[in-house]
Every structure is written in C-alpha cells, then in structure tokens.
C-alpha cells in the first residue's frame, strides 16, 4: 500500500488550511508549500496508478462505511489516469505560477490556496463515487474558479467572473434537481448503487434526471449553448489559470457528464445526443474563434471546440471512441496549457492582450514563440505532434462506426482551426513588431514548465505508444460498467451477508 486515494483530497485541504499560518512564519512558504504538495500527490498518483494497473481498482471507503452508505473514492485505471494527468498539469502550472507576477503577499496567498483548491475540486469530482459528494466538489472547484477569474483587479475580470457565477449557480441548481429526482426514486446517492438500480426508476424520472444532469454538467463541460461564460473566464483569468481551466477544470466537467451517461443511466439515444452536442459545440466554437482579436479569447474558443470534439469521440461509444476521446483529452491537456502559458508571456505587458500585439515577437522571445508555434501545430492535429495521433484515433473510431459525415465535418472544422492558428503564428514570426510594449522574458521556472510540456507533445507525437496502452486500459475501465458496480459494491454486500 503506497498510500490512499483520500490523500488526494486530504493533503491539499490540509495544506490550504495551513498556508495562512505559514504566511505568518515565512511568506515564501505560501508559494512553496503548494508545489511540494502537488509534487507529492503527483508521485503518489503515479505509484497508485501503477498499482491499480496491476491489482485492479482501489475503492476507498470514507469513515469506514461501505458503499452505498458511506462516501467512497474510486481510483480506477480511468479515474487514475485523469488524476495523474491533472496533478501533472497542476504541478506544471504551479511551477509556472511561482513568481508569474509579483503581486502582493495577500493576493498571492489567496491565489495559491485557490489554485490548490481548484485542482482538488477537479480531482475530487473525478475520484468520488458519490453523486452528492461530486456536487460538493463541483462547488469547491467552481468557487475557486470564480475567485481566480476575478483575480486581477481590472474591470473586466469581475464581469467574467460574474457570468461564470450565474452559470455556475444554474449548474448547481440543475445538479441538485437531478440528485433530488434520483434520491426520491432510489433512496441512494452512490453512483454504483444508482447504476445498479437505475432500472427501478420510473422512466420519466430517469429521463428528467438525465436532462438535468446534462444541463447542469453541460455548463461545466462547456457544451454549446451553455458555455457563454467560458471564453470570458478563460480570457480574463490569469494565464496559468486559463491553462488550469482548459487543462484541468473542463476535464472534470467532461468526466462528470461522461460518468453520468456511461455509468449512471443507460438511456437510449444518449450517445447520439453526445455526438450531436459535441458537433454543434465544435462548429460554433471554431466559428467564433476565427474572428477573435484577443489571443486568450481565441484560445478559449478553441478549447471549447476541442471539448466538443472530445464529446463527439465519447459519443461514438465504442472502445475506440472512448480511447480517442481520452487521447484527445490528454493531448488537449498538454497542448492548451502550453498555448495559454506561452501566450501569457507573449502578451505579458500589454493591456489589450490582442493578437496584434504578438507581431514580431518571434525575434524577442524566440523560445516562447517557438513553443507557442509548436502548440499551435499540435492542437490543429498536424503530424508529427501528439495532436495528430489523437485526431487520427478519433477519426478512425468514427470511420469504424461508419460516421463518415462526422469525419468530414470534423476535418472541415479543423481547416478553420488551422487558419486561425497559423494566422497567429504568422504574426509572431513574420510581422514587424509595432507597439513599444516591452516583451517580458519568462522566468526560468516558467520556461522549464513550458519546455516540459513541449517535450511531451513532441515525444508523444513521435512515439504515441508511450501512452496508448494506458489509454486503452482507461477506456476499458470506463466502459465496463458491471465491473465498476462490482468493484464498488462488493464490500458492502459482504457486510450485509
């Protein structure tokens, strides 16, 4: 036993409560401790993950009560993969954030607490096996998100945060309504228990609960008409937080919607619905992205589009589809943060943060620019970077399910994507610098974090087999609903007997 999944929540919480006290001792600890915590959790996650791949899913019962009575955490090949990915990114983002901007002590203390909690919330969403507990974690994540969006004291960040908050409140309302409907029918909140009893629900309750879940989690997962908050929040939050949103937070949103559709309910038509919504999200987001003149906003729309693509891949519903979706998620989780992080330095000193201001920066910030360009090539799915394999998996999965039209549409949209990313790259490298805004050189820690992401993107591009076996394990784990129920509920059954 290397450790227990509960530590993924307990340790950051402990750290978050400790950080204010540390601030009284030595202010630098406020910055350092989160990094140590994240690093520790990353190591723990990797070792647990290895263990899980060998010995099977770990189900942690909290308070000593077996599911369905107690809350449980499920560390499976699927959730473990996501957790590891999130922690890796969180650590990278921490590394980058360390001295990203020299804000006062008070805000920076809050920044690191909130960042830690943003990550913890996301991980909690992924790990928990209890539907109400997931709601709690969603709230932890959201509140951290609201606060971090409004972190900069400028005018527009509060606006973005307020929109996020309105949508987030609606989201929690719908989630609660769904939970109410389920509870009224089944008297249980445990996901595995719900999954095993879902057939006992009256059909109209089940469908209504599903609809509420889709609306509620669709807001977090940025499905099309529900994602109005996302571009604002992504673009107004500090750069590393934009990276965290696109790399970590939205992944948790997608996870929750997937868990509901794949495990909780077995409602006919859900998969086609995911494809439909994913497609609409993808198309609209890319349409909006192409005309943006703010760099982070463009990245935000692109992020939304990618999430649409992920949903489409999940909606294919086959093992290949899930595999592709996970591949897309991993790729996006590596590339989009890289784009956000590098873009943040490219527009560091400007107030407008417009694409125009990237003109000619290739000369002044060569490595940062290169990493941005690398990210751009990877995100549009051009070989030989990681994005290509993700897209390839997605397209072949679609082809194997005879979704030819989907392939065509996805590729058509990809063309749009290429156009706007290459426009930006063009500006960075081939335009003359106009403004007098002095570009800021990234700090060493920021550089290291970006380079690590860059290396991973290239490595996976050249050698995708590095991760594919894990993705396969994960997708099998997600699809095997019976095993999930068995894993979670077996302990409780033995108690009854």
């Amino acid at each position: 036993m290397v450790g227990s999944p509960i530590l993924f929540v307990a340790v950051p919480l402990l750290a978050a409560f400790l950080i204010p006290l540390f601030g009284f001792i030595w202010k630098e600890l406020v910055r350092i401790v989160p990094g140590i915590v994240l690093l520790y959790l990353l190591i723990l996650s990797v070792s647990l993950y290895i263990q899980v791949l060998q010995d099977g899913t770990i189900v942690e019962q909290i308070g000593g009560w077996a599911p369905p009575w107690g809350i449980n955490l499920v560390f499976s090949p699927f959730t473990g993969l996501l957790t590891t990915l999130m922690l890796f990114l969180a650590f990278i983002i921490w590394l980058y954030s360390y001295r990203f901007k020299n804000v006062d002590f008070e805000p920076s203390k809050k920044y690191f607490i909130l960042l830690l909690m943003l990550v913890t919330g996301s991980i909690g969403i992924v790990l928990t096996g209890d539907i109400f507990n997931q709601f709690v974690f969603i709230e932890i994540m959201s509140i951290s998100g609201y606060a971090l969006t409004a972190f900069y004291t400028g005018r527009d960040s509060a606006e973005a945060s307020f929109k996020y908050l309105i949508m987030g409140s609606l989201s929690s309302m719908f989630l609660l309504l769904a939970i109410i409907l389920i509870y009224s029918q089944l008297g249980t909140l445990n996901m595995a228990d719900i999954a095993s009893k879902a057939h006992l629900m009256k059909p109209e309750f089940r469908v209504l609960a599903l609809v509420f879940f889709i609306v509620g989690m669709g807001i977090e997962a940025e499905i099309f008409p529900l994602n109005g908050w996302a571009p604002d929040a992504y673009s107004q939050a500090p750069g590393p937080i934009g990276a965290a949103f696109s790399g970590i937070v939205v992944k948790a949103g997608i996870y929750s919607i997937i868990r509901v559709t794949f495990t909780l309910f077995d409602v006919e038509g859900t998969m086609q619905f995911l494809v439909l919504m994913g497609m609409i999200t993808l198309v609209v987001a890319e349409m909006a992205a192409i005309k943006q003149d703010k760099i982070k906003r463009m990245l935000a729309y692109s992020s939304i589009g990618q999430m649409g693509l992920v949903l489409v891949a999940f909606g294919i519903g086959t093992e290949e589809g899930v595999f592709a979706a996970l591949f897309l998620m991993v790729n996006h989780a590596l590339v989009k943060p890289l784009l956000f992080l590098s873009a943040s330095y490219l527009v560091f000193n400007s107030t407008e943060k417009s694409i125009r201001e990237l003109n000619g920066l290739g000369k002044y910030l060569p490595l940062t620019s290169f990493l941005f360009a690398l990210g751009a090539i990877a995100i549009v799915g051009m070989p030989p970077l990681s994005g290509f394999w993700a897209k390839w998996s997605m397209l072949t999965a679609a082809a194997n399910s005879n979704m030819i039209l989907i392939i065509g549409l996805v590729l058509l949209v990809s063309v749009v994507e290429i156009v706007y990313y290459f426009r930006v790259v063009n500006r960075i490298y081939f335009f003359k610098k106009e403004e007098d805004v002095e570009p800021k050189k990234p700090t060493i820690n920021a550089m290291v974090s970006m380079i690590v992401l860059g290396i991973l993107i290239v490595t996976i591009g050249f050698y995708p087999d590095l991760i594919t076996s894990y993705l396969h394990e994960a997708s099998e784990s997600l699809l095997d609903k019976g095993k999930y129920i068995q894993d979670v509920l077996s302990a409780g059954q033995s108690i009854i007997q």
Binding site: V136, L165, S169, M173
Partner: protein, 137 residues
C-alpha cells in the same frame, strides 16, 4: 396531550407546487431582472426553492425530526426493533443533511456573488447588467 393529528392531505401537492413556484420565481428574477443585486437575489430564491424541494422529497407522512431524544425514547430499551419502529415515524434524514450542505454552499456562493457585485459597481458605477458587457463575441 398526546395525539393531535394534522391532516395535510389537502395540501398534498402544495409543497411540491410551492417549491416549484419558488424555483420559477427565482429563475424569473435571475433571468429577467436588470439589477445585479436582484439577479443575485433571484439566484438565492432559486436555491431556496431547490432546497425546499429537497426537504419536501424527504418528508414522510406524520414523521418527526430524526432525533432520538430522551423524551422520545422514554424508557424504551435500546433495541434494534425499538429504534426501527421509532425510525419509521421519522422523516428521511438524508435530504435534511444534504440540504444543510446545499445551504452552506449556497451561502458561500452568494457571498462571492455579492462581492463580485461590489467589484462591478466599483468599476462600472452601475448595477444594470445590460451595461456590463465588455466581453463579447
């Protein structure tokens, strides 16, 4: 003074209906009112409605609070049967526990919302939501 039974059958659906009504009123406020404060109030009302519904779901006809207080136990021995019998007279404790969590969370969100309103007012000198849209398209 032992038995005073209150017949609630006349309001059979009244609780559901009023919870739904509160939800709708809150939503209406959040979706239509122009003032940021009123929107936040709308969201709070909405939240109350959902909480109300949650509580309503857990109600069991004639049930009392799920607290095994001394007055209730009187001199009963603590056996499984006794407890079960008492428990059957009680409302479902789970929604009550959930609602407490939901309320606390809702409170936290409202606090954040109000501080955002203050920030917005500081910058825009208005509370009209239609005038606060610098971020668009």
């Amino acid at each position: 003074m032992d038995q005073i039974s209150f017949d609630i059958s006349i309001v059979e659906y009244g609780f559901f209906a009023s919870a739904i009504l509160v939800i709708l009123v809150g939503l209406y406020g959040a979706l239509v009112k122009k003032s940021l404060i009123k929107i936040v109030i709308g969201l709070s009302i909405l939240e109350s409605g959902v909480n109300l519904l949650l509580i309503t779901i857990g109600y069991i006809q004639g049930g009392t609070a799920p607290v095994f207080s001394p007055q209730l136990l009187k001199d009963m021995p603590l056996t499984l049967e006794n407890i079960k019998a008492l428990g059957n007279e009680m409302v479902d404790p789970v929604p009550q526990a959930l609602v407490l969590t939901a309320i606390v969370i809702g409170f936290g969100v409202t606090a954040v919302a109000l501080s955002l309103v203050i920030r917005l007012y500081r910058h825009h000198h208005t509370l009209v939501i239609d005038e606060i849209k610098n971020l668009k398209w």
